[in-house]
Symmetry: C2
Subunit: 196 residues, 2 copies
Amino acid sequence: MDPAPDAAGQAADARVVRTHNDILRATLQLLLGQGWEAVTHPNVAREAGYSRATVYNHWPTRNDLLRDAFNRVATMPHQPPSGDLRHDLIAELTGYRDEMQRHRLDRALAVLVDLTASNPDMIPVRDKLVADGEQLVRDRLAPLLSGPRLDAAVLMLCGAVLQQALMHGELPSDEVITASVDLTLRAIDATGPDPA
Amino acid sequence: MDPAPDAAGQAADARVVRTHNDILRATLQLLLGQGWEAVTHPNVAREAGYSRATVYNHWPTRNDLLRDAFNRVATMPHQPPSGDLRHDLIAELTGYRDEMQRHRLDRALAVLVDLTASNPDMIPVRDKLVADGEQLVRDRLAPLLSGPRLDAAVLMLCGAVLQQALMHGELPSDEVITASVDLTLRAIDATGPDPA
């Protein structure tokens, strides 16, 4: 069994965590402000105020830096299900919209789309971010829909927010989010749940 | 009244049109292959096989080049309405999906989103492209829905294709497109059209 860390060890650990956070925050800032091309070890070191050696030591490649920066983006909080489907779907899409506003999630998604076009190593990072993002909506609708109808409903709800944010350059209003959820739930009511 | 152009004038006009087309084709190729940063007068001249002076002469600024290249993208054919709403919506979304495949419309949209983030002069170009893209869906649903419900339905249908293409890196299947349209139409049937 490992011995408990002593005080000096704890201080060193805290320093590593702080360095790690500082550097990833700087990476994300470059990413959202100037695009993925700006994420280079020298730029990140300068922006974060650490040596290049420190950056290379933690993240040997640019993809390592990009991956960890996007993983920070992916920590969007999901509210626990309340039992009320309509309430939960509205809360989830509103939370998604608010993350776009607060943490420039829309910009992060746009950069990630651009990045994966030229850098296939980042496709798993995108897929994880998207799967995490869609998960709650999918889980809540899965008892009611299946197959292409479930896929369609998830794509439509998440896609409505994306379409407004990326293609119109503005975030959807509460009214539009509520209308999206209500149209979806009415469609399900109208046909009843898919046969098991 | 202008005199009818003579043979020499017609040949000169044809040459101008060909030059124009060659250069915009090269611009679009750079744009889709390497992103908007690659669209510079020297790059475009090299790619198209014309002198820089010719490129500058037709398009004095980079934004002129970008604007005309994106306007070429926006010439997606819309089928005339058949009278069958379901058929028309499915045909429209399928056409959108097929343009993504054939002419890399998904890549053009991704580049345009990235471009407008740093170049506000291109926002009207994006807005025109998006308005043209959504127009038929909006026109067909406008007799049945209004206000936030109409906005939501348009965003959901167009957004479902966008979500699948940009966020999942694959194009929606015929089944998913059909399911998206059917969910929307069932929602409208369930509540009836909006009161006038």
